[in-house]
Symmetry: C2
Subunit: 474 residues, 2 copies
């Protein structure tokens, strides 16, 4: 158990798999491509859920629950949608001891069934907007599964809204993208690029897809979440008509947006080191762990001192745990606390009790500080805030070094194997030039219309339409 | 929309279906037997979840997430379990565009897959107890679906634990039953009988099942939740061995326990009336609704007055909404608030503003009271507590009238059609006598070993072993 983790710099992928397993975040399930999210991983997800759920409700959405199963015919109503999802579907053909007349698809996403219900609820413009969210599990058959990053079953929230005007729908899409940006940058401490996806990369059935892209330490991009303007063909396919303000038949403008358990995978990759995880304080299930250093003679007084500290920290809403496993040494406990990425560790021995102090060790810097008892809470709060800030700043600094501005496809061809980063360049907007990236297993992660690297396309040299971020991706 | 509901006394079943639909709690889904839980229903479920989740964590359990799919062979490892669930299974046979080598069952409950994982995690007695909970959707193919009460897909929490000793497992089972009793009696305001199920009625694969049974206004029993001691054959079937304190190979003692969205169905039936729902204040998404009575001339001052009240109530954690739909009359709003079962309604017009008062109407008694502004919060808090208390007391009083103590099967035969209630009698413990109840579509809801109606069985007249509660059931 105490053997070293694979080296994060040279064996990033092995490091990831091992840290997920050893820190007890998740295990492989005995079902191909599926994972079991263990209590520690689940507690991180619950913290993310609480933040996102509040944001969703504060922006005027309500939660609902829609069925897991979708009639196969529903998916076929929108041509792009079914084409995009067909290869990934799990299908129920038998139920209640009989073969079903129509197979049921296990939802890969819920646009179709939710739009069917919207059509039942929507009569007049007065019923708009409809702003619904669902916390759910979804299934997309996965050939190359990795815990949190790509699993056959994953957990997410999916928001679905219908609006009277195109402008309102566009505002909604951008509003939710901004909610996600706040989550990912200010809670998960991961800097992101916000932007539109190219036509080829957008969601199957979307008019437009906005994305937040993060750059992992190995240089690959990770799509953190998406916010879509859904195609009007969906509204027509599900007969979602309503009487508008002028008494005419109209169709609503639709959006959908989601964030998934994948966010946990990004957080693991972004902030880990050779000792294990480093969990941003704002989402850490345990922010502070207290490790008693005592023997049978002084255990009572040390534990008494610790329990008073525990109560005080709880009063200040600091998430705290005590590792008082009698079978384990303090050294093993330090190691375990580091592996699990707990931001702060308090070491408390009999001399700390006598001197009325506590020793604090910071997971990020490993700095050790002896703090007098009276200033403990304030010091902890400061240190947690500082770790949160430093994680984000470190991630920003690394990303800065991962940027390479290029002018031609050959620059990508020549450097993508050794460059652990992303490329910024200009593009003509043509699919052929986008497709040329495939040879290097790279893709356009998002458009950057506001920057201007050069006046011509990196590939065909025709006039530039937009800048782009190019990278390999998870 | 404003037509009367079916009469709750003479058309209970129609009343239930209509109130679920009109109060926008749930809709039929376009998938057989499935429902869509709409925002108002979902908000009730979220309130129940918050209460239960806290209880589960406070009693030392941790949440985790297990896969939706279970390999078919897992279910077959425990003979009683597969026999119990086979007729209700939904089966995935195709995924990722191919036929699967082994079909995957959509979980009807997760004992098998969770026990498989317990076996991976469990090495020594030091790993015990394992105390896990999961919030999840489950699927049991349903031939006679009814919203909340019986649906093909439903939502629940399922707790699963493993213990070193039989006594610990028994204590766990009873501890969780007590948590549920507190939820159901003190939050949902539904009195329950707590007791053990007969051998025939216990969970497929359980050694023992404890249940909480509520008696609905139509006299039928509703199983509110169950807490099981799981059979040791499960531990053996999944090779869940561990090294015990003496260095021997041992198998853990298992429990599982669940409460489902069915609780919402019970709450609806228990407290409704001919005007609609009455939601117990402790779980009501909206505890107080404010209805402005104003015209264009005085709207500003009335709304200003209301917004100050709104802020004050929010500060006191009272869940409040304002119905300021400009299209609707106050009368229609009263009707709607009653239909939705909101415990208290505040009516605020220009004269209330002038006199610095508020008119409060109680959903349960329909009593109207004018309250001075300064005592508003205190009055609301008192009234909410009183409604909560009265709902439970009314339910207890009705249940008392639903009780019939009987001595012979013929008493059931003669009266079950007209008696809207349950029967208490004594039983020899023999399956044949239990089966005799089937002719009257009744069953033993739970055992009552501590009461003693008579010394002989209601059916065969052999010596009594235990008393029982008999009823028809949902």
């Amino acid at each position: 158990m105490n053997t070293k983790l694979p080296d994060i710099n040279t064996e990033f992928s092995e490091w990831y798999n091992e840290v997920v397993r050893r820190a007890k975040l998740a295990d492989h399930a005995p079902v191909r491509g599926c994972m079991v999210v263990r209590p520690y991983g689940c507690a991180i997800w619950e913290n993310i859920q609480a933040i996102v759920d509040k944001k969703i409700k504060d922006t005027g959405h309500q939660n609902a629950l829609f069925p897991l199963f979708i009639p196969e015919s529903f998916l076929k109503r929108e041509a792009d949608h079914v084409a995009g999802f067909s290869p990934e579907l799990a299908v129920v053909t038998h139920a209640g001891g009989k073969e079903l007349e129509e197979p049921l698809v296990v939802r890969p996403t819920s646009e179709t069934i939710i739009h069917y219900m919207f059509a039942q609820w929507l009569v007049s413009w007065r019923d708009l907007p409809i702003k619904i969210n669902q916390w759910a599990n979804v299934v997309r058959w996965e050939m190359r599964p990795r815990a949190f990053l790509r699993t056959t079953e994953f957990w997410w929230q999916e928001g679905h809204t219908a609006h009277e005007t195109e402008q309102e729908a566009e505002e909604e899409t951008l509003c939710m993208l901004e909610q996600y940006r706040d989550l990912i940058e200010n809670y998960l401490a991961i800097p992101v690029f916000a932007g539109q996806k190219s036509e080829q990369e957008k969601f199957a059935g979307a008019l437009k897809t906005y994305t937040l892209e993060a750059i992992m330490p190995d240089g690959k991009a990770l799509q953190m979440c998406t916010s879509h303007r859904i195609s009007q063909t969906f509204a027509h396919a599900f007969d979602m008509s309503f009487q508008d303000r002028n008494g005419n038949v109209s169709f609503p403008h639709l959006t959908s947006w989601a964030v998934t358990t994948r966010a946990i995978g990004a957080m693991i990759m972004m902030h880990g080191d050779n000792k294990g995880l480093i969990i941003p304080p704002k989402i850490a299930p345990i922010q502070v762990i207290i490790i008693p250093i005592c023997n049978d003679k002084n255990r009572t007084e040390v534990m008494q001192y610790i329990h008073v500290i525990e109560q005080e920290l709880k009063t200040h809403n600091i998430r705290i745990a005590i590792d008082n496993d009698a079978q384990s040494t303090p050294g093993a406990k330090y190691h375990e606390a580091e592996l699990r990425g707990i931001p702060l560790r308090l070491e408390v021995g009999p001399r700390d009790v006598t001197s009325n102090v506590v020793t604090i060790v910071d997971r990020l810097s490993s700095a050790k500080e002896v703090v007098v008892r009276d200033s403990l809470v304030a010091t902890i709060e400061q240190k947690l805030a500082l770790i949160q800030k430093m994680l984000f700043e470190n991630a920003c600094a690394r990303r800065q070094q991962q940027e390479r501005i290029i002018t031609a496809l050959s620059d990508i061809a020549n450097s993508i194997e050794e460059h652990r980063g992303y490329f910024v360049t200009s593009w003509c907007g043509d699919v052929a030039c986008e497709t040329a990236l495939k040879e290097y297993k790279a893709s356009i992660r998002c458009l950057r219309p506001d920057s201007r690297i050069q006046d011509f396309c990196f590939c065909c040299k025709n006039p530039r339409v937009t800048d782009i971020i190019v990278a390999r991706s998870y």
